[in-house]
């Protein structure tokens, strides 16, 4: 208990130091460059405050978040199912793994032109691109974890008369949860990158990526830096606060 607490404090301190260093370099660049090329940290913060008080910002935020939720959620759902299937069925495992490794090397953003024409301008192509980005790490981590579930845990359940469903639900699923969470955090990183870049490319509607691209198009550097700030802060909140919390809740037994 005390060790997890102290590492928690340590990692928080590490984050604060990292943030200070990043902001410091930004500010140094702002001192050397003219204002229209690189705004002060303070100027961007002020703009952020103004944005937070405008309705437009929240509309974009809501659009981005709903795309993220739909894409990421779908990826987790199918990633877990396919991962469990691939991990338990020997016939499916190797081909599935090979397919994932091949497809995973394609940057998810590369699918945008195809899906744009296939699905038309709308939310769907962005959601699909987000889902592709998040699916592979999820499926791979679940599959690898399923494969390495301890044999004695499976034998014990068989001896106790577990049905197939009970085996999946009570043994495999909890056994793979630690790796699943790691995979889901990795998947979130992919999904987030895919979301922002897809929104930047697909020039319609509103969203964080679109807002960033627009600021660039009109050479509003304060807008650019403010958007980057928002993207970074949101990612940190979702990953370090939301997902970490879920992790501690689901893996409570490991932290006792």
């Amino acid at each position: 208990m005390s060790s997890t607490q102290s590492t928690g404090v340590q990692s928080k301190t590490a984050y604060l130091i990292a943030i200070a260093i990043i902001l410091f370099f930004w500010q140094v660049a702002a001192w050397f460059l003219p204002d229209f090329l690189m705004p002060d940290v303070w100027t961007a913060m002020l703009r952020l405050w103004q944005e937070l008080n405008s309705g437009e910002f929240y509309e974009g935020l809501a659009n981005s978040m709903s795309r993220l939720g739909a894409g990421y959620g779908t990826a987790l759902f199918f990633g877990i199912i396919l991962g469990l299937l691939g991990g338990t069925l020997n016939a499916v495992r190797s081909p599935l793994k090979a397919a994932i490794i091949i497809l995973q090397s394609i940057p998810s953003i590369a699918w945008v032109p195809l899906f744009l024409i296939l699905m038309g301008f709308g939310n769907l192509p962005i959601i699909v691109v987000v889902a592709i980005g998040a699916f592979f790490p999820t499926a791979l981590s679940v599959m690898n974890a399923t494969e390495s579930v301890e044999k004695v845990h499976i034998s014990a359940a068989r001896v106790m008369g577990a049905s197939r469903f009970q085996m999946l639900h009570r043994v495999y699923f909890p056994a793979v949860t630690p790796e699943l969470i790691t995979g889901a955090q990795l998947a979130f990183g992919n999904a987030w990158r895919a979301l922002i870049s897809a929104e930047m490319i697909v020039g319609f509607s509103s969203g964080l990526g679109r807002s960033l691209a627009y600021s660039g198009e009109v050479a509003d550097m304060t807008g650019v830096m403010t958007n980057i700030l928002v993207i970074a802060i949101l990612a940190a909140i979702i990953d370090q606060v939301l997902l970490e919390n879920i992790k501690h809740r689901l893996l409570r037994y490991q932290y006792l």
């Binding site: 359940a157 068989r158 001896v159 106790m160 008369g161 909890p174 037994y253």
Partner: protein, 257 residues
């Protein structure tokens, strides 16, 4: 439940682990299988559990061949067989939940069994928070809660220190006396075999065949096994321990220089 092994042979690829194993185990009998490690004793247990099938020969329970696992034939593993994501109570209850018993009922009964193995107050601990001895007590509770007719023990106390092991042997003996299942115990602790079993089978190196069967009968025993010194010496000699050093073996103190 009566067990019959008829010329059971088991191979893994080209590796023959058991050759023409043939014996009967009567209902309520306690049989210990002793032999060098890796000789195929555990494989025999796994076959009775229904986790593996024989390559040739037949394995019968009450005259019927074993085709799949059944809660009537339960297996206690050496260690790490408890689920780390469940508390001790949930681990024990799981055996009943897998048989379709409602969770609440299963948890209540699991509590009774944890009390029986002298673990009251530890219900909500996770396996990694308690000692190896406590984990194996839980494993025993999880095995007995299903009221098995055949109890298979695969070196259940092999990872424990000598004192804890003896305490757990007593706990196990009491549970067996109470429930009277047919017991197959794989061990390489000769004293454990003599203390718990009605009959001891000594196995050879792989492929496993029976070197000798020693019948002790179902009699009350304590951990003071001095009355079984002759049997003990015989088993040790068969296993190649102290072989050819009869002078030492007959030393009344039984100590080594």
């Amino acid at each position: 439940m009566k067990l019959q092994f008829e010329q059971v042979t088991k191979t893994f690829g080209s590796l023959e682990v058991i050759r023409h194993f043939d014996t009967r185990v009567e209902t309520g009998e306690i049989v210990a299988l002793v032999g060098p490690s890796g000789c195929g004793k555990s494989t025999l247990l796994h076959m009775v559990a229904g986790l593996e099938s024989p390559f040739s020969g037949r394995l019968l329970v009450e005259g019927k061949p074993i085709t799949e696992p059944s809660p009537q034939r339960t297996l206690v593993f050496q260690e790490h067989a408890l689920y780390p994501w469940m508390t001790l109570l949930e681990n024990v209850a799981l055996a009943l939940e897998f048989q379709g018993r409602p969770r609440k009922e299963a948890l209540a009964e699991a509590g009774n069994w944890l009390a029986k193995v002298e673990l009251p107050g530890f219900e909500d601990y996770y396996p990694h928070q308690v000692s190896g001895g406590m984990r194996q007590r839980t494993a025993l509770a999880r095995a007995f809660i299903a009221r098995p007719q055949v109890l298979l023990l695969d070196e259940p106390f092999g990872a424990l220190d000598a004192l804890t092991r003896m305490t757990l042997q007593s706990v196990l003996k009491d549970l067996i006396e109470e429930e009277r299942p047919t017991v197959l115990l794989v061990t390489h602790d000769v004293d454990e075999a003599l203390y718990l079993a009605d009959r001891v089978m000594v196995f050879s190196h792989r492929p496993a065949t029976i070197l000798k069967e020693i019948t002790l009968g179902h009699i009350p025993k304590t951990h003071d096994l001095s009355a079984f010194a002759a049997e003990r010496r015989e088993v040790l000699e068969l296993l190649g321990i102290d072989a050819g050093s009869n002078k030492q073996a007959s030393n009344p103190e039984g100590t080594h220089p």
